[in-house]
Symmetry: C2
Subunit: 240 residues, 2 copies
C-alpha cells in the first residue's frame, strides 16, 4: 500500500522488497503473484507492477503458488543478501522493505547488510490491540539497539464504519490508548491512523490498487496523509 | 483461547507452550505476563494460570516487558529444546503449542524434537482474506512434508455484528470462499468459524477468559463447538 502510494508520484522510482520468505504476500497484494523472474547479465530483474514500481519476492521463484519454503534462518539470510546484491534495481528513490513481524534473522540480516549504504529508518505498523502494541514495543527496542532511526508509527484497522447504518465502531478497542498513546510513551512520531475498510482487504486479495479504486474513501485520505508525513520525515532529514 | 477452553474441563491437565520467541503474546492473553519462572530440582516450573493450566513462554525470562529478543534461528531452536526437556510439565493430557506464522526454525525444531513422542496434529487458524489463505496453503504443504497430521482448519474473524444496528457485515470478504472452501479444496477438515467480537480482543488485552466473561455470546458458542470438534478428531484417532 505504501509502495503504491509512493509510486503515485511519477517522478519517483520505487522498489519493493518482500522479506517474508516463509509467507510472502506482497506479490498477491500487488497483483503479480503469477510472474516469474527474468535474469539478465546485470542480475535478476525485479517484476514491474507499474512503470516506476519494481518488486522482488521469493514467491516469483516458487514452482507452485502453494509450495512452502521450509528454510531455517541461515538460508533466509543468504537469500536476502542476494536480493540486495544480485537484483538489478536500477536507480531507486525509495526501497520499501517489508519484513515479517518479530526481531529475528530477517531483521538482523537486512540491518547488517544495509549498514553501509544506510537505512532512512523504520516505519512501524500496529493495530490498536494491546497484544499488537506489545510486539511494537519490542520492535522499538530492536531498532534502538540496532541503531535504526524510527520514522514513526501508523495505526491500522483503527475503526470500522458499518455499511448498513453508518455507525462507527471500534472493533479492536485500545484498552490503553492504542498507537497514539504508545507513540507518546516511547517518544516516537505518530504518523496517523488508517480506518478498517472491508474494501482494502478486497483490493489486496485481487491485487488492485485501493487508492486508484476508491480515491474518495476516508481510508485513502488517511493513507495519503501517512505517506506525506513519512516523506516529510525522510526528506526533512536529508536536507539537514 | 483453545487452552482456556480445554482447561474448562477440570479433569484434564493442560500445558500451553508459546513458541513465538520474538513476539510472545500468550502470557498477556492469559493474564500472567508479570510472572517470573521458578526453578526446582525437577527443572523450570510452568506458570499456572488455572489449577489445571500451566504455561511456558520466553516472556517470563525477560528483564523487562518491552525488551526485544533479538535472536537468530539457532538460538531459538535451543530454547525450544529446553522448553520441552527442562520444564517440569507433570502429567499432561494436552500440550497446546502456539507457533508464530510461517514454516521456519520454530516449526522445524518442534516437529523434529517431538517426532519420537508423537504429535497429535496441527490445528490451522486462518482469517477469511485471500492473503491469509495463501499462508495456510503453505502451512498445509509444510505439515504434509513433515508428516504432521492436520487436525483441521478454523476460520477466525469471520463476520462482524454491528453493535448499533445488529446488521451483520463481513469485514474481511472471502473473495474465493474463505476457509471452508479452502478446506474442501485441500481435503482437510473444516472445524468451524468464529465471528469477530470486539470483546474477544478486550478479553485478550486484559488477560481474562472470554468464555467465562461472555458465556452466552455467539463467539463463545462457536469456540466451544470448534474445541468439541477438535477433541473428537484427536480422541477418535486415539481409540482406533
Amino acid at each position: 500500500m505504501l509502495s503504491w502510494a509512493l509510486a503515485a508520484d511519477d517522478e519517483l522510482e520505487i522498489g519493493a522488497m518482500d522479506l517474508d520468505i516463509c509467507g510472502p504476500s506482497l506479490p498477491k497484494m500487488l497483483g503479480c503473484e503469477k510472474e516469474t523472474l527474468h535474469e539478465s547479465n546485470l542480475g535478476w530483474s525485479p517484476v514491474y507492477v507499474a512503470d516506476n514500481l519494481g518488486m522482488m519476492s521469493i514467491q516469483f521463484m516458487l514452482p507452485d503458488e502453494d509450495a512452502a519454503v521450509i528454510w531455517r534462518g541461515q538460508k533466509k539470510s543468504a537469500l536476502i543478501k542476494q536480493f540486495l546484491k544480485d537484483v538489478d534495481w536500477g536507480k531507486l528513490d525509495y526501497l520499501v522493505i517489508d519484513t515479517p513481524p518479530g526481531t529475528t534473522d530477517e531483521h538482523l540480516s537486512v540491518s547488517t547488510y544495509l549498514k553501509e549504504t544506510g537505512i532512512d529508518g523504520a516505519l512501524l505498523v500496529t493495530t490498536p490491540q494491546e497484544v499488537a502494541l506489545l510486539d511494537v514495543r519490542k520492535e522499538v527496542d530492536f531498532c534502538r539497539k540496532a541503531g535504526i532511526k524510527i520514522l514513526g508509527l501508523v495505526e491500522n484497522m483503527s475503526g470500522f464504519v458499518c455499511p448498513n447504518c453508518g455507525g462507527k465502531s471500534r472493533i479492536f478497542k485500545p484498552t490503553t490508548g492504542g498507537g497514539e498513546q504508545l507513540s507518546k510513551d516511547l517518544g516516537i512520531k505518530f504518523l496517523g491512523s488508517v480506518p478498517l475498510d472491508p474494501r482494502i482487504g478486497k483490493s489486496c486479495d485481487s491485487g488492485q490498487c485501493f487508492l486508484d479504486q476508491y480515491p474518495d474513501s476516508p481510508a485513502s485520505d488517511a493513507i495519503l496523509d501517512v505517506v506525506d508525513a513519512l516523506r516529510d520525515e525522510i526528506e526533512g532529514e536529508a536536507t539537514i
